[in-house]
């Protein structure tokens, strides 16, 4: 899977939880889920569960720790996919 495909899938996953639509339109690797997209911190659990379902991976606590930005999430997903 290319990075672009991964990014596009991630964008679809987070969209229902985003409270700042402008942030989503301008989404980049540096985008922070809570600060820029105003995703409620309890909804990050849903993002993580959706990511697990979509990519058929399991995100452990170490992976979860990092999943606050687009960039870190992509890295976590890529690592888990590579380890499959």
């Amino acid at each position: 899977m290319t990075k672009e495909e991964l990014l596009s899938k991630l964008k679809t996953i987070i969209e229902p939880y985003v409270q700042n639509q402008e942030g989503l339109e301008n989404m980049s690797e540096d985008t922070n889920f809570i600060d820029d997209l105003e995703i409620n911190s309890a909804n990050l659990v849903d993002v993580i569960l959706d990511v697990e379902d979509e990519f058929d991976i399991e995100i452990d606590n170490d992976g979860m720790d990092k999943m606050l930005t687009v960039k870190a999430s992509i890295e976590v997903i890529q690592n888990k996919l590579a380890a499959k």
Binding site: S41, A42, D46
Partner: protein
């Protein structure tokens, strides 16, 4: 050191389905999950424990100037205490039908806290007003900012102070806690 967190229960029930498969396991250990299922009102208990973890996270992050991390699982609730690694935070929670509010603190703390229930979300300006009054300076001399880790800081006459504050808002409710 202090941290706070408020949960609007009505909004939480719209935003989060904690009964979703796998949801509780990502955040709560087995004894916390038992506590949730054993509670008279499981929904209330989920958000009480969540707010305890969030409040303790904020106090812990401020105490050690930590960069942001999403690790609610590492903050373990037992009775009214929250433990992370070897550090312990005490908490006090206020529960109503509409919201749950928790303050986490270390022993040497003399804090005051205020909850706003009027949807005005004026908590930041009210906090500035309070600090200006306590420090006996002009309102315009007090500014709130976030540091590089996103931790809120108080500046007076553009100088960083060591006044510890914590801010929280969710839905109709907001709150500040300040340790002077």
């Amino acid at each position: 050191m202090i941290g706070n967190d408020i949960v609007d229960l009505k909004l939480a029930s719209v935003q989060s389905n904690w009964r979703r498969k796998g949801w509780l396991q990502k955040i709560f250990n087995e004894s916390e999950q038992d506590k949730i299922w054993d509670a008279e009102d499981s929904n209330h208990m989920v958000w009480k424990l969540w707010s305890m973890k969030e409040a303790a996270y904020k106090a812990h992050q401020r105490l050690f100037s930590l960069s942001p991390k999403y690790n609610p699982y590492d903050f373990i609730c037992a009775d009214e205490d929250v433990t992370v690694q070897d550090y312990n935070y005490r908490t006090v929670s206020k529960q109503t039908e509409k919201y749950i509010y928790t303050i986490a603190f270390t022993d040497q703390t003399n804090f005051i806290s205020k909850v706003f229930v009027d949807e005005s979300l004026q908590y930041k300006s009210k906090l500035v007003y309070y600090i200006a009054d306590m420090m006996d300076v002009n309102l315009s001399a007090v500014t709130l900012q976030k540091d590089i880790n996103g931790i809120p800081i108080v500046k007076i006459h553009n100088k960083i102070t060591d006044i510890a504050i914590s801010l929280s808002s969710h839905g109709s409710f907001s709150a500040f806690t300040v340790d002077l």
